[in-house]
Symmetry: C2
Subunit: 200 residues, 2 copies
DNA sequence: GGATACCGACCGACCGCTCGGTCTGTACCG
DNA sequence: CGGTACAGACCGAGCGGTCGGTCGGTATCC
């Protein structure tokens, strides 16, 4: 379906994951006790462990699904954009921005709790994250090769653009003064400038 | 002294702070036990408490000094730049970049452990951080007013530039393939592009 | 009656922190 | 110059409490 990467019907997380999400976002992984998560999920501690085998499994359940979703949406966004580097770039950046506004807490946890992941969880997360970065890298390189982007440092610019999009998750608030569409407009303009896109 | 904001003679931290720094950087605040810090400092637990009254005091000792130092250096950098918005911008960005390479672990902890700070520590840290942001905000606004920066969104561009400079602390490695001077050259170019500075 | 969904009670380990000391100086007194 | 007084630096042992996780159940549904 066209543009489906743009829409976020808020399918609810299972109660234990939703509880872990809000607790981790507030206190961090190590700062959150399993009892606090159980309490937020309206469950006893053994009740919680009936659904998830460990605290680490809760973190894993949050971060692997979220990165996979981002990757899927980005793939759709690029595919829909067609061959133009400019359009591909715009679509991926918009996708990154919308994702980090609508999934802000999951994305925030995934990027800040890397240290708390056990090696296998961390490795698979980083692999997905690198794949996401390379997707944008290739687009910027394509744009530079075609002469539509004029940056002298394509890979650094690509990383910088990703960084500023990801950082949106740290300050965006649904009830803030800027709505998602305004943020997309502004940050798309900034991202284009960073790679020195031809248009204004 | 001219350019003193550029030079980082590595004055060593007191042993307990150095130990806390490396432990917090590896495991995070809540993921680090006081015993682990004591071990790294070659001290017993009571020996550690002889120097610092609490675990929180170690965190405070790391984050308040580091933000104050950044603010001091930025002030010097701006002052040395004179009245030109372009030169002021360049100096502050270079200062941010060099700081986040040379003080990367302190800066990383300060920005990632905000949740772990007790309210008074957090409040004073955030006040310093905001002051740093406003310093760059005013420069970008000045540049836009004078017509040397063409960005349509000065405050968003200013935040984006800060974000990409701060993020350098998360990936820069002293033994990496890019040295500090190269990073400054590249990111200064990116930062100028982001605010649409007149020069190439 | 088996599977699913839970819970009260509990476990060993570890948490941040403190108690009651022991050292090694160093300063001053006679 | 020996002796006393004191302070800073440090530690073994252990405090009350919380941690992640588990055991042995019960209630409910198909």
């Amino acid at each position: 379906m066209s543009g489906s990467w743009r829409s976020f019907g808020d399918e609810p997380l299972p109660a234990p994951l939703a509880a872990a999400l809000s607790a981790f976002a507030e206190q961090g992984y190590h700062g959150t006790s399993i009892r606090r998560i159980a309490e937020k999920a309206h469950l006893s501690v053994p009740g919680l462990y009936h659904h998830y085998p460990s605290k680490q499994a809760l973190l894993e359940g949050l971060v692997t699904t979220v990165m996979q979703e981002l990757l899927d949406r980005s793939g759709q966004a690029v595919e829909e954009a067609g061959p133009s580097a400019q359009r591909r770039f715009d679509h991926v950046v918009e996708c990154l921005l919308r994702f980090h506004m609508h999934r802000r807490r999951q994305a925030f946890i995934a990027s800040t709790e890397i240290r708390s992941m056990k090696p296998e969880v961390r490795d698979s997360y980083i692999a997905l994250r690198d794949e996401q970065q390379r997707m944008l890298d290739r687009i910027v390189e394509q744009g530079v090769a075609e002469g539509v982007f004029a940056t002298a440092y394509p890979l650094d610019a690509s990383r910088a653009v990703t960084t500023m999009c990801v950082a949106v998750a740290t300050w965006f608030r649904p009830d803030g003064e800027l709505g998602p569409d305004q943020v997309v407009e502004r940050y798309l303009s900034l991202a284009r400038a960073t790679v020195r896109a031809g248009s204004a």
